[in-house]
């Protein structure tokens, strides 16, 4: 087995036992990047090889001296390029932030460093995290490592592809409506969207402030859990972080889920869900049942309205969050225009991509005078109903299981002319963001065409330990931890 194929747990054990060094791990990641980046386009920027090796060397030296090391010491981590990193640039895959280098680090990035992780580079995404395919990037589309003719999902497509392909052991993504879980599902890895308020958003470039959370990605449950533990907790710079204690997220596999109540919404396997996806999810539920879990059906009354509510509220927030990009005090400024207003309008019109402009327009519409009550306000009221549905569901269940997406990864450009169809593919992921609860996606098998199928496990707010427990037991019992795929060489058109 090659080093880049190791999961987090295997890599950490190898480092601890001295089987290989952090330098070896970084070398292997860099080698893999060299080998597959041409096909995948997962990274926007990779750090200088020498810098990475020096940093890894320091970790190795500290380990040799017997110093106490952080929980992620020497582990190569990829960071989505909408999370601020001083000196590494942060573009959000947008022309409007071309060349922007933040003068500060995101709290999550500081904590990553404190935990000893080695940031290998910044990953590609849908521009400003708006998209479900990673095709909307000023730096070109990202390809799915399992089939480069298909999308990796989005918006954290770069992070998902990088972890799936072994270019990094762990990655940070961001999840506003499924942007960690859906690409994790499409790429066959574990992706976690923590409860709202669990991880500081300070330094995360805002898309939709009441939905955004930084999430974690790994090829194993423990990797995602350990990374989440490292970045979680209250932050005095983010007034929306919770002061609820951060408990242990990792634990021992017991082979036992007895007493754990698992809810399966009817629509999980209903209309619009690919039969192979439905089958894989039901099989996963059977595994949980065999471990002793109590499984029952469940109805979430208002889930049919989730996508509509989400797109209105999230984009309303986005229209305001993206008002700051005007080319005046940072970022790119359009040339050749005369007059302040013209420069601003031209900068924004030229430098934002079509999807971002569409969402700004929708969000501005939802807030505009005469539309506010019918769109923004109504959507916010529906959001309350959806949160209430979950509150009652979690009185009866510990976790709720659904597919992550109705289908496996779709083809590039499959939804290019139909933005609404793309939005509807988020039907299983947006409810967790609306309600601010915890959810993860993990692989539960491969389709007949060899594509990963994602299983979503949702738990109540700050009930991450229960979510991880179910995931860990399922992972161990099912044995469906996916290998690192062969990445076919393709010529990208980006």
């Amino acid at each position: 087995m090659e080093l880049h194929e190791l999961t987090f747990s295997e890599a950490r054990r190898g480092l601890e036992e001295g089987t290989f060094s952090a330098r070896d791990l970084v070398e292997s990641a860099l080698g893999r990047i060299e080998g597959v980046e041409h096909s995948l386009n997962a990274f926007i920027r990779v750090r200088e090889r020498d810098d990475l090796l020096v940093e890894a060397g320091k970790t190795d030296a500290a380990r040799a001296r017997g110093e106490e090391l952080g929980p992620l010491a020497g582990i190569p981590v990829a960071v989505k390029d909408n999370i601020s990193t001083r000196g590494l640039g942060t573009t959000c895959a947008s022309r409007i932030l071309a060349g922007y280098d933040p003068p500060y680090d995101a709290t999550a990035v500081e904590r990553l460093r404190d935990a000893g992780a080695i940031t290998v580079g910044k990953t590609n995404l849908d521009e400003f995290a708006m998209g479900s395919s990673n095709e909307h990037s000023a730096y070109g589309a990202v390809r799915n490592p399992w089939d480069p003719g298909r999308v990796p999902g989005g918006s954290s497509g770069g992070s998902a592809a990088a972890v799936a392909a072994g270019e990094a052991v762990l990655a940070l993504g961001t999840d506003t409506g499924g942007s960690v879980r859906q690409p994790a599902g499409f790429c066959g890895i574990v992706g976690v969207k923590p409860s709202y308020g669990r991880v500081s958003r300070y330094g995360l470039v805002a898309f939709a402030s009441s939905f955004d959370q930084i999430g974690t990605m790994s090829r194993d449950v423990d990797g995602a859990a350990e990374l989440l533990a490292a970045i979680s907790g209250a932050d005095s710079r983010d007034a929306t972080t919770s002061e609820v204690d951060v408990p242990e997220y990792t634990g021992l596999v017991t082979g036992n889920l007895s007493g754990v109540r698992v809810g399966v919404p009817r629509e999980s396997t209903g209309e619009g869900v690919d039969p192979e996806v439905a089958e894989a999810v039901l099989a996963a539920v059977d595994v949980m049942r065999s471990l002793g879990a109590d499984v029952d059906e469940l109805k979430l009354e208002h889930s049919e309205h989730a996508v509509a509510s989400y797109y209105l509220v999230a984009n309303a927030e986005a229209s305001s969050n993206l008002a700051r990009y005007d080319g005046l005090s940072y970022g790119h400024r359009a040339q050749g225009a005369d007059g302040l207003d013209e420069i601003v309008v031209r900068t924004r019109s030229e430098d934002f991509g079509a999807e971002v402009k569409r969402r700004i327009m929708l969000g501005t519409y939802a807030l505009a005078s005469g539309y506010y009550d019918d769109y923004y306000l109504r959507a916010q009221r529906v959001r309350t109903l959806i949160a209430n549905d979950f509150a009652s569901a979690f009185e009866r269940f510990d976790v709720i299981v659904t597919p992550t997406s109705p289908t496996p990864a779709f083809r590039l450009r499959e939804h290019a002319d139909d933005p609404l169809a793309m939005y509807l593919s988020d039907v299983f992921t947006v409810p967790a963001n609306l309600a601010g609860i915890a959810a993860l996606s993990m692989p539960c098998g491969l389709s007949s065409t060899g594509l990963p199928v994602g299983l979503q496990i949702t738990a109540n707010r700050f009930m991450e330990p229960m979510m991880f427990r179910v995931a860990r037991e399922y992972e161990a019992a099912s044995g469906v931890r996916l290998r690192v795929p062969e990445v076919k060489r393709t010529e990208r058109d980006a």
């Binding site: 922007y100 280098d101 003068p103 709202y196 308020g197 009441s210 005095s236 007034a239 929306t240 919770s242 208002h302 309205h305 996508v307 509509a308 509510s309 797109y311 209105l312 229209s319 008002a323 005007d326 005046l328 005090s329 940072y330 970022g331 005369d338 007059g339 302040l340 207003d341 013209e342 420069i343 601003v344 309008v345 031209r346 924004r348 934002f352 402009k357 569409r358 700004i360 327009m361 929708l362 501005t364 519409y365 505009a368 019918d374 306000l377 109504r378 959507a379 916010q380 009221r381 529906v382 959001r383 309350t384 109903l385 949160a387 933005p419 609404l420 939005y423 609306l434 309600a435 601010g436």
Partner: protein, 97 residues
């Protein structure tokens, strides 16, 4: 409610965006489809349901009134597309009035 190109043009002005006529037409159609889709929300029973404004937020989160770290002017201006000494320079500015 059907979106018209005039509505969309007005929204674009608020959002500081401009579109060509072709773009505007396509955008109007796309927005119309999306607005039609979200119109389903009017079917939800919302009597006595409050908006979720404060659903996930904590009340009364404060900082104490103590000076913390500030940026050096060079860091503050390091990303400026244009500057004049320690000022951000913006083009085509005419003071109001």
């Amino acid at each position: 409610m059907a979106a018209t190109t005039d509505d969309i043009r007005h929204i674009a002005a608020l959002a500081k965006l401009s579109f060509s006529d072709d773009e505007l037409e396509r955008l109007t159609n796309e927005m119309d489809a999306i607005l039609n889709y979200v119109a389903q929300l009017s079917g939800a029973k919302l009597d006595g349901v409050d908006p979720a404004f404060a659903l996930l937020r904590r009340d009364n989160v404060f900082r104490e009134d103590r000076v913390g770290e500030m940026l050096k002017p060079d860091d503050a201006l390091s990303n400026a597309p244009d500057r004049d000494e320690d000022f951000f320079r913006v083009p085509g500015f005419l003071p109001e009035g």
